[in-house]
């Protein structure tokens, strides 16, 4: 434990870490100090006055430096004449606190009576009722009846939309400023503020768009009353009817721990259904935050469009069949296909699904083709070597740390990591953002590098060259690294165009690199990941916590797919050698890649397991209805290689099955074993066959430990309604660099840029898109833009187009009508094309393009 101090609370002595907040220290010691405005993840303000305590300190003799003692030999305590707010106190040696005295109790009663003067008594219809800090503290404190005149009660608006996701009830607000401080301190979007003062104080926004941060839902968790509610859950259910089921968000590589609040629902055939998604505390992953995509992106699990029975193509029609018929049809085809089949795994299949898909593939061929989708990022071998150390916590990164985010629009691709990196920057961590264009993280960056798309690898490689020329090579570490000397020789003489950025990174004690895939070809991306590993291994920034490489994969479980033998290179090779039979697991390549649409159309037989009728499924001969993350158990491996369990939250839709079971059933018809009876047993098979996953048995993944801050539990006032983690913190598999006996490898990287003349299109990722699952959350549709292309201002002026105009984009031999955005974001010569804003593929990688003005 770090340095500690001894404090006395109500006569009992406790050792607590030096420098922490008194409310936190009391909480750690098992004493609750009630709070409304204080939140352990934000700076204290001392606004609500609920945390008043009697506070004293030991009197130190100025001459001797020893504590003064009274006649009995006890230290003399000097008490503050008035009660103090505990939340604004930092613990110090000898601090004495009394929280259980009548004086304190009276003060808290008075504060509560004051807070309640105009608070409405609408608990019976309030969403927060049942999990409300104010309700709970009113039961514990307060006079029971008010002396204020009811007729003087202030009446205010009860349904104020702060944007279209969050509603404000002005009467319920107790003006704790948690929401405004969250927006300001944590997120950095100052879109909520107080207006007026005194009794007229109100939360307002006049921002445009209004309350539209990607994290707005979190304010409803930390709101200590029912003033802020989500459009999703508002009047949806009562908290006490809900069962909390631990789960993992299926939308991005962060792997946020979530809690699915479920209940038996009339509107869902009396089965269990998800009513809302709440964050679940995991201080190694998402702390207590989730983004709005995770919070509001669960509706796909119960969407009416869900496929409920296996479908067989008969001519132009789909015929619903039973599972046996579907299995027999597929098994017969696979038997004949032999090596002529390709297996494509989507980015949110669970590890269990992937394992059974792989087993099925190996049953059809000795050298099966196992591809992932999407397939624009690779470099799992670099991650295996130099991946971020186990035990990494972004919230521990501060002034001694540096973070490089390269080739990623971080807030759009991994919002909660963005949030944590932004907060690290606030704490003094050096953040370098490198991309071909400005992104939102630039605001918080120490150094911003805007390279020309195509030069990403060269830029990262030059950082390693700078490490060499500035003697930042860690010789002790490189003794374990094969090829280090050759690489150093190769780096000699490399030009370093962004020397300040390089040195910002190299001067730090800890270094984490987040590598995305924006603007890179697959070959370049392999080199980018290697260049990242080179830099980290040469400088010894690997093999320990808060150091190493984190890939910003697209999707929740691409890491798992790579771990279990699937690869992006295999997918890329399918373009040249298309198989005659496709077996696609929950992927929708036809919505993203025009070339694959053709291959699918030409194929003899296509099997797709999916939850929805996607453009890819439309090419299928057999469609297998799959279960969503909500209806089954499984595990995802996040971008930091943490394997995390999700649990069954809702009843199954129709005849759907978990994909691992579907694949195992087909395998059984090809002579394989009977399917396992549970996902846990599939994972047991994985632990026995995949060395990295040896420790990932379900009981181990379910292990929890006490986390700080101790949010959740019954006292909701402390951290809000983020839930205690009861489902498991997950386990990270260690990178090779962490094993001191392991040899590591580096190699010089290929620096080739593009060979594209003139204007070229770069696909970019946006958070709110029309991907298969997220598209089903209709409430978010207003946040999904119409398909657009961002065009450089000069280029636009040259072609004669203005912001908002509809243009024609010619790319890869196809034409697309898109709305032009001319807003200074796109670099010269580049057209930024967001992916998946429609179901029509546009570009999948950097490609030459032309823009045409559409005649008047």
């Amino acid at each position: 434990m770090a340095e500690t101090v001894t404090i006395t609370i109500d006569g009992q002595q406790f050792q607590v870490p030096k420098g922490i907040n008194l409310v936190d220290a009391a909480k750690m010691s098992g004493t609750d100090i009630p709070v409304f405005c204080y939140h352990p993840k934000m700076d204290p303000v001392g606004m609500c006055r609920m945390c008043l305590v009697e506070l004293g300190s030991v009197v130190t003799n100025r001459e001797t430096g020893e504590p003064d003692v009274d006649d009995n030999g006890d230290p003399v305590v000097r008490w503050f004449p008035k009660l103090q707010t505990a939340c604004t106190q930092t613990v110090s040696e000898g601090m004495v606190v009394r929280g259980a005295t009548q004086r304190v109790r009276d003060a808290r009663d008075d504060i509560l009576e004051f807070i309640l003067t105009s608070h409405p008594l609408d608990c019976p219809i309030c969403d927060k009722g049942g999990e409300c800090p104010l309700q709970n503290l009113t039961m514990a404190y307060g006079p029971g009846e008010s002396r204020f005149v009811f007729d003087d009660k202030i009446r205010l608006d009860k349904h104020v939309p702060l944007g279209d996701l969050i509603y404000l009830d002005r009467e319920r607000c107790i003006q704790c400023a948690r929401c405004t401080r969250f927006c300001d301190e944590v997120v950095g979007d100052d879109v909520l503020a107080f207006h007026e003062r005194g009794r007229r104080l109100q939360i307002v926004t006049i921002s445009d768009p209004p309350f539209d941060t990607k994290f707005s839902g979190n304010t409803t968790d930390i709101c200590p009353v029912g003033a802020l509610t989500t459009a999703d859950f508002r009047f949806g259910a009562r908290p006490w009817e809900l069962d909390e089921v631990p789960s993992i968000c299926p939308h991005c590589p962060v792997g946020c721990n979530i809690s699915a609040s479920t209940r038996l629902d009339r509107d869902f055939g009396g089965k269990k259904v998800i009513k809302r998604i709440m964050p679940r505390q995991n201080e190694h992953v998402n702390e207590i935050w989730i983004c709005d995509k995770g919070r509001f992106g669960h509706h796909h699990a119960r969407a009416e469009e869900r496929l409920t029975t296996p479908l067989l193509r008969r001519g132009d029609e789909w015929v619903a069949v039973d599972w046996d018929t579907a299995y027999s049809e597929i098994a017969g085809r696979l038997k004949k296909a032999g090596d002529n089949v390709a297996f494509l795994a989507g980015n949110n299949l669970s590890n269990e699904d992937l394992w059974e898909l792989r087993k099925l593939a190996h049953r059809t061929s000795n050298t099966p083709r196992l591809g992932v989708w999407p397939a624009f990022m690779t470099g799992a071998d670099a991650v295996a070597q130099a991946g971020v150390g186990t035990g990494t916590r972004l919230q521990d990164m501060g002034p001694d740390s540096a973070i490089l985010v390269i080739a990623s629009d971080f807030e759009e691709e991994a919002p909660v990591w963005w949030l944590q990196v932004k907060q690290a920057a606030d704490r003094g961590a050096k953040v370098v953002v490198a991309n071909g264009r400005p992104t939102k993280l630039d605001r918080y960056a120490t150094e911003v590098v805007h390279y020309e798309y195509g030069d990403a690898v060269a830029v990262l490689n030059s950082f390693a060259a700078r490490a060499r020329s500035k003697n930042k090579i860690d010789a002790d570490f490189t003794a374990r690294v094969d090829g280090a000397a050759e690489l150093e020789a190769e780096l000699k003489g490399t030009r370093v165009p962004f020397a300040d950025a390089a040195e910002t990174l190299l001067d730090a004690e800890d270094l984490v690199i987040f590598a995305g895939g924006e603007g890179l070809t697959l070959d370049q991306h392999r080199e980018l990941m290697q260049a990242a590993a080179n830099l980290l291994l040469l400088t010894g920034h690997a093999g320990k916590p808060n150091n190493g490489l984190v890939p910003v994969w697209p999707g929740a479980n691409l890491q798992g797919a790579f771990d279990l033998g699937f690869s992006a290179e295999t997918t890329a090779a399918l373009a040249d050698q298309p198989p005659t039979v496709w077996f696609i697991g929950s992927a929708d390549p036809a919505a993203e890649d025009a070339a694959l649409v053709q291959s699918l159309a030409n194929a003899e037989f296509v099997v797709v397991s999916t939850q929805f009728m996607t453009p890819t499924a439309a090419h299928a001969n057999v469609i297998l209805p799959a279960q969503s993350f909500a209806e089954r158990e499984g595990t995802f491996t996040n971008g930091m290689r943490r394997v995390q369990r999700f649990y069954t939250a809702q009843g199954p839709v129709g005849d759907t099955l978990p994909e691992w079971r579907i694949y195992a059933n087909i395998g059984a018809r090809l002579g394989g074993d009977k399917p396992r009876i549970s996902a846990a047993l599939v994972m047991r098979d994985i632990t026995q066959n995949v060395p990295r996953y040896a420790a990932m048995a379900y009981p181990a993944l379910a292990a929890v430990e006490k986390q700080f801050p101790d949010v959740g539990g019954d006292d909701l006032y402390y951290g809000g309604t983020a839930y205690t983690n009861t489902g498991g913190l997950g386990i990270q598999w260690p990178a090779n660099a962490e094993d001191e006996s392991a040899r590591l490898q580096v190699r010089p990287v290929q620096l080739d840029g593009y060979q594209i003349e003139g204007l070229f299109a770069v696909p970019v990722r946006v958070l709110y898109d029309r991907s298969t699952l997220f598209e089903q959350s209709e409430m978010m549709h207003t946040h999904v833009p119409e398909p657009f292309a961002e065009i450089n201002n000069q280029d636009a002026a040259h072609i004669g187009i203005v912001d908002g105009e509809v243009i024609r984009l010619n790319v890869n031999g196809a034409q697309h009508l898109l709305t032009a955005r001319v807003n200074g974001q796109a670099p010269a010569g580049v057209v930024l094309v967001p992916q998946l804003l429609s179901k029509t593929p546009i570009v999948i990688g950097p490609a030459a393009c032309a823009i045409e003005k559409i005649g008047e």
Binding site: D189, D190, V191, L192, A193, F194, H195, E196, R197, G198, V204, T205, I206, S207, D208
Partner: protein, 163 residues
């Protein structure tokens, strides 16, 4: 627009502070001087100049009683009715003033000449009842004195209108 009309003054304001957002109070005063009050559009204009979110400008304008987010009369009478002033009769004075001008709390007279409102402490408790008219202090008031002042201001306004 402020940016064009007062380019020099704005530059001078910003030069006083380490970052632009610190200049927001000065700019809000400037905007109020120019437009008479702070409309939502004005708040957006100032926020853009200071590089902050419009909501923050709105919040600041709402907190300080010296800023007005509503159109005001020619004479803006702000009476302090905080506790020490009230003990010296300021609240009763305020009510009588409202009655005399025939306006509600915070209202403007029908001729558009006077706006009256209550404000928080103006740091002149010992001379209450007191008010500030367009930021000038008038102290140790009673109804006779204020009636005289009001006649003066009316006459002044008429004279200005005649010119």
């Amino acid at each position: 627009m402020l940016a064009e009309k007062y380019a020099d003054r704005i530059e001078k304001i910003f030069s006083k502070y380490p970052d632009k957002r610190s200049g927001i109070m000065d700019l809000l005063y400037l905007a109020q001087e120019e437009y008479g009050w702070l409309s939502e559009d004005t708040l957006r204009e100032v926020a853009a100049l200071c590089d902050v979110d419009p909501t923050q400008a709105h919040s600041i304008a709402g907190f300080y009683t010296m800023f007005s987010e509503k159109p005001k009369g020619t004479y803006w009478l702000q009476v302090c009715t905080d506790l020490p002033c009230a003990l010296r009769g300021a609240d009763q004075f305020y009510q009588e003033l409202c009655a005399y001008l025939d306006v509600d709390d915070g209202g403007t007279t029908s001729d558009g000449l006077f706006t009256v409102e209550q404000v928080m402490c103006l740091a002149a408790c010992d001379k209450a009842p007191m008010l500030q008219c367009n930021f000038h202090y008038y102290e140790n008031l009673d109804m006779d004195i204020i009636k005289g002042l009001i006649e003066q201001w009316r006459a002044q306004a008429q004279q200005e209108a005649a010119e």
